[in-house]
């Protein structure tokens, strides 16, 4: 594994390259697009282990942090979706520089999947394929999920939590939108998140896109169906998993569920 800084001096990003260890006949590289905030913290180890496994079976993997997240430069105040879409393009270009001889597949999880879908329209050389895992297709619902998770986290954490939290959550729509589980969200980002909608999330016509989602996730199913009716090559693959996206790592919610690792490896290898 080789860490590196890349991108422009004004927008330095942290990346980690996992070079393929063998099997020169495998000509694939994977760009891992992380989720946001607490979901990124939660999946860091999963992405690390996945990248190692991919490298062992001959697939290059590249992980990175968006500007203002993880170890990349920038503050949380600077975070916004359009910049992050460009960061995916920058990471894609970096991976092309490292392994331009390989087909590049993008794996995105949660908001990372949404950003990947958006960014695919922006890069001059689109990825060969995309695997989008539990994409966010309803931004307003996503913000509500995070608000509720934020209040739940505070209530779980304090010895005697403030009993007014739930009233504020119910009665004040803007409460807890600037502080999403301990990650600051500037007004521009909040607007952008709420604007995410299946109607405004067209898939780029890359060779193939696989969407992994819970079979009961109706909004994602409808979104995929809508894309297919526009003749975009996309398939919906059911994927139920035990990962709780916004939880802290603890023994009763495995950090790297084996079934998740196996499924993602299989989808990326195809």
């Amino acid at each position: 594994m080789k860490p590196m800084l890349f991108g422009t001096p004004e927008r330095r990003l942290m990346g980690l390259h996992h070079p393929a260890e063998s099997r020169p006949e495998v000509r694939l590289a994977v760009l891992l697009c992380p989720p946001l905030g607490q979901e990124q913290i939660r999946t860091q180890r999963l992405y690390r282990v996945l990248a190692d496994r991919l490298a062992r079976i001959g697939i290059d993997a590249f992980r990175f942090d968006y500007f203002g997240t993880g170890d990349s430069a920038g503050d949380e105040e600077d975070g916004e979706l359009e910049g992050w879409q460009r960061d995916i393009g920058t990471a894609h270009a970096q991976l092309q520089r490292l392994r331009g001889d390989r087909r590049i597949v993008w794996l995105g999880a949660r908001l990372g999947a949404t950003l990947a879908a958006q960014a695919a329209h922006l890069v001059p050389d689109a990825p060969a394929r995309m695997v989008l895992w539990d994409p966010v297709v309803d931004g307003a619902a996503y913000v509500e999920e995070l608000r509720a998770a934020h209040v739940d986290a505070i209530e779980q954490s304090y010895c005697i939590p403030d009993r007014g939290l739930r009233r504020r959550l119910a009665d004040e729509p803007e409460a807890f939108t600037d502080d999403l589980l301990g990650f600051f969200a500037a007004p521009a980002l909040r607007r952008q998140l709420r604007d995410i909608s299946a109607l405004r999330l067209p898939l780029a016509p890359v060779e193939d896109t696989t969407v992994l989602a819970d079979p009961d996730n109706a909004p994602v199913a409808r979104w995929v169906e809508g894309q297919r009716s526009g003749e975009v090559p996309v398939r919906l693959a059911p994927f139920r998993h035990p990962l709780v996206w916004t939880s802290d790592p603890h023994p009763n919610n495995a950090m790297v569920p084996a079934e998740v690792l196996q499924r993602l490896q299989a989808e990326l290898r195809e």
Binding site: M1, K2, P3, M4, L5, F6, G7, R12, L13, M14, G15, L16, H17, Q38, I41, Q44, R45, R48, T69, G70, D71, A73, D75, E76, Q94, L98, H150, A153, I154, E155, Q156, S157, Y158, C159, I160, P161, R163, L165, R166, D178, D179, L181, G182, F183, F184, D248, P249, H250, P251, N252, M255
Partner: protein, 322 residues
Amino acid sequence: MKEFPVLFGPGDALMGVVTSPADGPSVPVACVLYNMGATYRAGPRRINVKIARQMARLGFTSIRFDLSGLGDSAPPVDPKGFMAQSVLDLQAAMNTVETVLGIRRFIVIGFCSGAVNGLAVAQLDPRVIGLLMFDGFSFPTGRVLKERNLRRLLALPFNPAVREKTMRWLRRKVNAQAPDIFSYEAADAGMERYREAVTRLLERGTAVLALYSGTLQAHDRGRDQLSLLGDAQLLQRIDYRFVADIDHTLTTVASQRIFLQLLGDWAVALAAPGPAAGGDPGASTAQRAANMPPLVRQHRSAPDAADAPAAMSMSGAPLRSG
């Protein structure tokens, strides 16, 4: 501010990020940040990144890194047991900062179970001049625990969140779920070992800040979390702070700001010439100075502030740059 990733330790197995002020460190002290439980080097809510950058604004250098086998660090080739390995890892982090930037005085910041690792390395390594233990060791008397439970009981009828927490606790007891090895209750290092270790540190002139949050209790009548120590003189020598408005994982941006301010003020006072904050008030400045390693010396390989590397391997193995 300059930041660069670094691989260090035996076989370059440890992964970290060094942060230093843009014009070079103006304070000859570096902060050492590492994992809280299983969370990677960024820390819960990315707090370690925020600490490192805040401290850089105050003139301090920091290194945040993953202990062996956590985050992006590889497991050790010759494992020594978790505690012994973590001490070696922390020393490797300090060695790296000393080699690259010539800094030989360190503040170790341990969150939760990290406080145990922090105390262990501070005892062994005189380069540690300050140790912050956040929600670390906890030795409350029966009175403290009863008062906490009574407060919760009184809140139960009026606070749905307290009712739910109580039900979750009961369900865990009934279902006998796996022990939470990364819970905020610190590993049982033993009260006597804690007493001896902290006494040694204070006699050496190392500042000890024991900080507790509103997760462990809602009120603190006076050093409640260490009340079982029963040693009034020792307790007075520890810089003990309770902040009800912050919680164990700094879940809110507001609690993070309180923490950052407190840490910054403490570290600046500690690094300033003269009596160190939290140090032994009985020791003279001369005694504390005599116990401290030499200050920053210029090191030939230290990167100029304007030329921080894109990545660094302490073994000299080539790393790609972007």
